[in-house]
Symmetry: C2
Subunit: 395 residues, 2 copies
């Protein structure tokens, strides 16, 4: 990374607004293709990327009505091994990728019915998952409660330690001569005619750039000067999440991601190789606050305890909340906007970590070659503005 | 407070080992009586004094079999208003004392029977407490669950913000020319013949003193060179505790201390004037670890929610654990030990904050005048060594 230049005349090929995993990986990939990139963020990697659990589980978390998104999710999951290896090589740091497989388990008979339906749906789509009895679940994960009523083994659903991923991406950008990190917030888009030409930063400088990538998560619409309705509303969906520690004496405790359906609700436990155990996550979209509530922590611990009673013995190391960027259809915005020179890479909702490789590769290709890869073509912002735009007037 | 002197020849009248609320208040009171004091602690006020909730509730927390301790508890509670006022004057800081009264409430019929028994016991001892129906409980505290089955109002049981108390005591000691704080651990007692003469600190210096006060909580027996069996065992009793924040829109939320009996267990909610809400506390005596467990947090939130459902909306600001110093009879050790020149002021278990004024006054009197005030006479360490001492061989 070149040393930060305070000069307002800095004029890179690309300005990336937002340095979460999406912005960082785009900057890194674009620089690899020979572009010069300025990346602006007052707190790189400290938003949703820091809060996440890092589940890479497109099959276990398949949602009804999101079959079309599945292709994108599967594509990105498939890119992860090579992406992680290349990132480790580039950064000299571990990526935190862990090919651990996932168990989805049900607490009671109603929850089992939910998972049975999911299993049937997965099978119809040709996805690999295996039904397990309660006993089989416990053979995979002996710490599971005997009350567990059955589950699914999804051998191909893995995880990455999102905080190690952030650290590795930051290091890779630092080592990449084409990337300059500016620790400042982009407050306003700069335009000339019908074209984006850069952004004003809150350190008082302007950055002019050939192309601008908006990757600011749930704050993407807060950049001034965006033409009204250019992007659909992106709502903050707060997620509270816990980090526990598994002492050596209890290892491995859990070996797979465990996704639970507990009395109709959904939660997960993600065990890291280093003993961290992530338990998440609540969801509510009441605003931009990131306070951890007593009720959120209570619900997560209550459900985790139902599935894995031994969690009560583990130290609770951290409680945290972050804001997922949710679009009206809960799918990401990746591609050209209605303003020339402005590309969107935001709105990844619950799947920002999963979708990092495909987003980075696609946006880097778009920036370098001007072509939109097929896999992201359905997810351009134009899918919203192609309508009358009326329902977007509050954007 | 005089500037710390590294000289090993520093020779104050008194060396106090441990700067929790007990050690700090003794140092302050002793200096007020004209004595020079060195106070040794690597982290003043960061042990049990920092973890506590600050309930001053001798009547609501009356235990069967502890009638004799009640006199000491009541005496100290009665000293609090003047002690707090004098401390505010001396320190220039708020003491955090709050004359708020206490409600003890029962969740179900069995819990109500427990409180009915407590009420009868209080009445037999002539203590002021008033029985309340469920509706009356909610008139005092509208946030209580309608499920609450009844309770007690104890008008004379109050609270102090233990962290403000620590800060004020530290400031009072700083302003007191006779007190020198040494940020170091006392590792070994120094003796000459049958007399304590000072202590060795872990910064490599020795402090000689006319008298030594041992006020190191559950670490009191860890000081090397203590004659075996001089003190009874002092076990660490871990307590996990939560700190929530009541946003302005929800104030006052609670106005009294609320002690709950919930399905046979006991817990409390302590509302501060500044919006902090303290919820405590677990108890287990498995060792010296101070890790907050997922199970401890879960149980506190579960019970708090049963009594006051609205807590789920409040931000959870802090989880913390500390170690109460528990003696074999759960009563404190205040007074002369079997070693000349060594005075004990430790083992306050759950009542260190409550017992601060009486302990400080009594020990200061003992240090200055050589007399043991009647109120602490039953609580000298001699009550253990007066037996055969056989059961103390593991001390």
């Amino acid at each position: 990374m070149a040393s930060a230049s305070p000069s307002p005349s800095a004029s890179p090929d690309v300005l990336v607004v937002g340095a979460g995993v999406i912005g960082l990986s785009i900057a890194w990939r674009a620089a690899r293709r020979g572009l010069t990139v300025v990346l602006a963020d007052p707190q790189p990697g400290r938003g949703a990327s820091h809060a996440a659990a890092g589940m890479l589980t497109p099959v276990s978390e398949l949602q009804y009505g999101e079959e079309s998104l599945l292709r994108l999710n599967m594509d990105s999951a498939a890119r992860y091994p090579a992406f992680a290896a290349e990132l480790e090589e580039a950064s000299g740091l571990p990526s935190g990728y862990r090919a651990c497989g996932t168990l989805a388990v049900a607490l009671d008979a109603d929850d089992r019915a939910v998972l049975k339906d999911l299993h049937a749906f997965q099978s119809r789509l040709g996805l690999a998952s295996t039904w397990l009895t309660s006993r089989e679940c416990r053979r995979f994960e002996p710490m599971l409660s005997p009350a567990v009523a059955g589950g699914l083994h999804v051998e191909g659903d893995h995880q990455i330690d999102n905080r190690r991923l952030v650290a590795a991406l930051l290091a890779a950008c630092e080592r990449e001569p084409g990337v300059t990190l500016r620790p400042a917030r982009a407050t306003a888009l700069l335009t000339a005619g019908d074209r984006a030409t850069g952004a004003r930063l809150d350190d008082g400088t302007d950055v002019s750039a050939g192309q601008v990538v908006l990757a600011a998560g749930c704050w993407s619409n807060a950049v001034e000067g965006l033409p009204p309705g250019l992007l659909p509303p992106i709502r903050p969906v707060k997620g509270e999440i816990l980090r526990l520690h598994v002492p050596d004496a209890y290892r491995p405790f859990l070996s797979h991601n465990v996704r639970g359906v507990v009395k109709g609700g959904s939660m997960y436990l993600v065990p890291r190789a280093d003993g961290e155990l992530v338990i998440g996550a609540t969801e509510n979209d009441l605003g931009y606050d990131t306070e951890v509530t007593a009720g959120g922590v209570y619900e997560l611990l209550r459900d985790a305890r139902e599935l894995v009673p031994g969690v009560t013995e583990l130290p609770l190391v951290e409680t945290h909340a972050g804001l997922r960027p949710g679009t009206p259809d809960n799918a990401p915005l990746i591609g050209r906007t209605g303003l020339d020179g402005l590309i969107a890479a935001t709105g990844h909702y619950r799947h920002g970590i999963l979708l990092t490789p495909v987003t980075a590769d696609a946006v880097a290709e778009l920036l370098a070659d001007g072509t939109v890869p097929d896999v992201v073509r359905p997810w351009g912002p134009a899918r919203f503005t192609a309508t009358t735009g009326k329902e977007l007037s509050y954007a």
